[in-house]
Symmetry: C2
Subunit: 221 residues, 2 copies
DNA sequence: GATGATTTGTACGTATGTATA
DNA sequence: ATATACATACGTACAAATCAT
């Protein structure tokens, strides 16, 4: 029998809380009560604190000293800024991928693209396939650090992507854009790939920040 | 008297330990004993643990479950990857700065550049001035999130920059490159700025990773 | 390979600071 | 404005796992 990898509780907790935030079960601005979380997961407050501290460092939660932790909520400006950076990192990954992609990687990319196509009618499943597609690009960049940064940002932005839900016709447009991106990676046109990805991401950023600005105007805490 | 913002001990500790790592007092691979650190800072293990956890999230230390924390040490490949990303982020900041820079910001940039010039004979002081120069570019990008990312990466790479010390003639070359960058920002040539910065950073990355690869070949643990 | 020493991971109590009546 | 209630920050105790012998 394998020794069951004695993962510390605090690690599992971090993953669990992070998942809830990313999945939207815990909404931006929501309070994260140490005692309540400890009770819910049937552990003491210590590992909860460690988990919250780590999440604070990675930016998903905000800890105000002596005033508790809340799920971090981003202003529209900041959201826009984050998408601007995301667009550039993705463009970089795409440019590198066009130069360095292996046969196996391009196949994985094509598969992910096909999966997107197969789910064009279901926005939830499309978004899942979409993430896989983009991660295939990160992987093909041949820069593991870049891939990590991209994944981290993608994850951090996910709570906000959820808000988009089905914007009319966006899925079809997104799929068409992917098509062009794959084609340009195949032919090794790095700058073209970069430009396509930049535009592809930036559009989303503008939509999202508009949306969040709209929500904010309605006056959520 | 002002209520002195009762900063939690763990925050101060994180900053203190981070500073020691970044300044090179704690070397990559070195063990970070919780008890020893607690004794040295005259606190209990709890805040030390919290600080280490946060540093682990930001990547400066590595925590192996049940086996303690060490100062993170980067492989030459990873170092190269990080510089590759850094080059792109700086290029982005420069491109944006060329478009958005304010009068006050360009003055700050010019001052920082002058400070570099005044310290061309002292590598330690030059590097300090150099960081200020680059941070002035980040600030001028008008993207606060991007600026944070750049600063974080700059900080994470600093322990390795220390190793470079005085490479023959590098200071003069660096200063000349800065000159061109400032000029291009003044005239708003975004793409030119981006290209100059990309090259400026990438050169360092290549040097550093060569250097670290050399050290590794000598057989450090 | 087993045992002891050291160190990490978790639980819990107490004090201090923050918000509310 | 004072006091009360409550949640956090830190310290300390214990348990479990790693390592050194």
């Amino acid at each position: 029998m394998f020794d069951a990898a004695p993962t510390p509780i605090s690690r599992k907790l971090r993953a669990a809380i992070e998942d809830e935030i990313v999945a939207g079960a815990l909404l931006p601005g929501e309070r994260l009560d140490e005692t309540a979380l400890a009770a819910r997961f049937a552990v003491s407050r210590t590992p909860v604190r460690e988990a919250l501290n780590q999440l604070a460092t990675s930016g998903l939660v905000e800890i105000r000293p002596r005033r508790g932790a809340i799920v971090a909520s981003l202003t529209p400006e900041r959201l826009y800024e984050m998408f601007e950076v995301m667009a550039e990192l993705e463009a970089m990954a795409g440019r590198l991928a066009a130069r360095r992609v292996s046969a196996a990687e391009i196949e994985a990319l094509a598969d992910a693209h096909a999966a997107c196509g197969a789910n064009r009618d279901d926005s939830d499943r499309y978004y899942a396939a979409n993430e896989t597609f983009h991660q295939a690009i990160y992987a093909a960049s041949g820069n593991a650090f870049l891939a990590e940064q991209c994944r981290a940002l993608q994850r951090r932005l996910r709570p906000y992507r959820r808000l988009q839900l089905r914007v009319r016709g966006r899925l079809a447009t997104s799929f068409a854009e992917h098509e062009a991106i794959v084609a340009a990676i195949r032919t090794g046109e790095g700058e073209q790939v970069a430009e396509l990805l930049r535009a592809h991401i930036r559009v989303q950023g503008e939509r999202f920040s508009d949306l969040v600005a709209g929500l904010a105007r309605l006056g959520a805490a």
